[in-house]
Symmetry: C2
Subunit: 226 residues, 2 copies
DNA sequence: AGCGTACGTGTACGGCGTACACTTGTCAAC
DNA sequence: GTTGACAAGTGTACGCCGTACACGTACGCT
């Protein structure tokens, strides 16, 4: 027998960058990105906080790594003669990835420098436009116009993470009626999903595609005109 | 003579919510929002950190207050028969306000619940559409499509706060040529501002208006079709 | 057998937001 | 003029955070 007791001290799964990232993704998935700290991450990996630093440089790099994981979930581009359909589909795939990790858009927003993975994604998207016949100039404008939409998200006006009880919510809406009549009008009568009659329910997927197509159609028109 | 020396202990300017907010805005303006902590804010006001809490509930409310200050700088809507011009102008005014406070868009993004000031602004914007003849449904879609643009900002792909020295930057671009050909192509040949031949300079104002008009024109077409 | 190297540990520092108990300054009522 | 209530500012303390730095420890190579 060796010096270590067999069952009591099983050889520990070694820490790797991948394991760190995956655990971080899991942690963020279940508790939001603000619940992700180096210390909690270390605890989840049953390791001391400083151990993480053998595998990632610092928290910023960790966040970059998280973004890379999410980008990695986006389907590769379809190929076809058209630029529009593959781009649309890829953006919708990106959106699906982001929906799986609701924290990801916020992390992407907050980052200052892109990782190679992100650059590769962007390069591929730009390539779809260029090979689709877009001029350099138009491609450039389109990139700006699309903004983060090429990553599958639009800026939500507010990210309502807090869900209060329905009665309080209803009371709030009623209080709004006088002060903010137009907001009241739109949020009380519009697109009613399976929730209550009153409430901020609307079909986000539909809205995303609506906006996406508004852009894509406008862009197509610009291209034809040029 | 009173117990206090006249010149040495001038009666202190009392803390007020307004003074706290204004100092916070100044601090953020000059150091970015990440350089704004309750403790630094207190130091700037020559006061102990906890003193702030007599005037604002907590840091979150402080951030809300900052947003309100910025929203307050947006010009009131022009009135005219048309919906489009006043909305366009107001959005551009919002953009001007945001340019004065570069941290503001990030703070707005990160907030979860709107303040009354923000709600009032939104209500006014929605009102412009509704009185301009938009149906409830279309107004709703348009709101989603515009996203944060109604506050005067688009999601920038990256917020490059770091500025490295030009030679290193040039070297980086050259390194990109092989790996990310399309990114390279677009960033090395496009709209050249007063900086170097190579570099990420482009006319942001133009790009913003380009995207804005792309949306507004598309929206107008939708309205006419309906 | 010995040793370099990679990996995990322990301790510590400075910063953060803020709870809670305190002093201090101001002014009204007597 | 004294008192006492009330608001405004203070001091101390707690638990969190990211991470620098020195230290063990185990394993592969010679």
């Amino acid at each position: 027998m060796s010096t270590e007791i067999e069952s009591g001290a099983p050889t520990r799964v070694p820490l790797t960058r991948e394991r760190v990232l995956q655990t971080a993704v899991d942690l963020a998935d279940q508790g939001g990105v603000e619940a992700l700290s180096m210390r909690k991450l270390a605890r989840a990996l049953d390791v001391v906080p400083m151990a993480l630093y053998r595998h990632i440089a610092n928290k910023d790099e960790l966040l970059g790594g998280l973004v890379d994981v999410v980008i990695g979930e986006i389907d590769p581009p379809l190929d076809g003669a058209d630029w529009k359909t593959p781009m649309r589909e890829r953006i919708l795939s990106a959106r699906r990835a982001l929906m799986r990790h609701p924290w990801a858009s916020r992390v992407m927003e907050s980052r200052s420098t892109p990782t190679p993975v992100v650059l590769a994604y962007m390069d591929s998207m730009i390539g779809m436009l260029r090979t689709g016949g877009f001029s350099l100039d138009l491609t450039h404008h389109v990139l700006h116009a699309m903004g983060s939409r090429i990553f599958g998200f639009t800026q939500e006006l507010f990210n309502d993470t807090t869900d209060t009880d329905p009665s309080a919510e209803a009371a709030m809406w009623e209080a709004m009626a006088g002060t903010y009549p137009y907001i009241y009008e739109i949020f009380t009568t519009i697109s009613h999903d399976d929730r209550s009659v009153v409430g901020a329910g609307c079909d986000d997927q539909f809205e995303f595609e609506f906006a996406l197509d508004l852009m894509l159609d406008g862009i197509e028109r610009l291209k034809e005109r040029a």
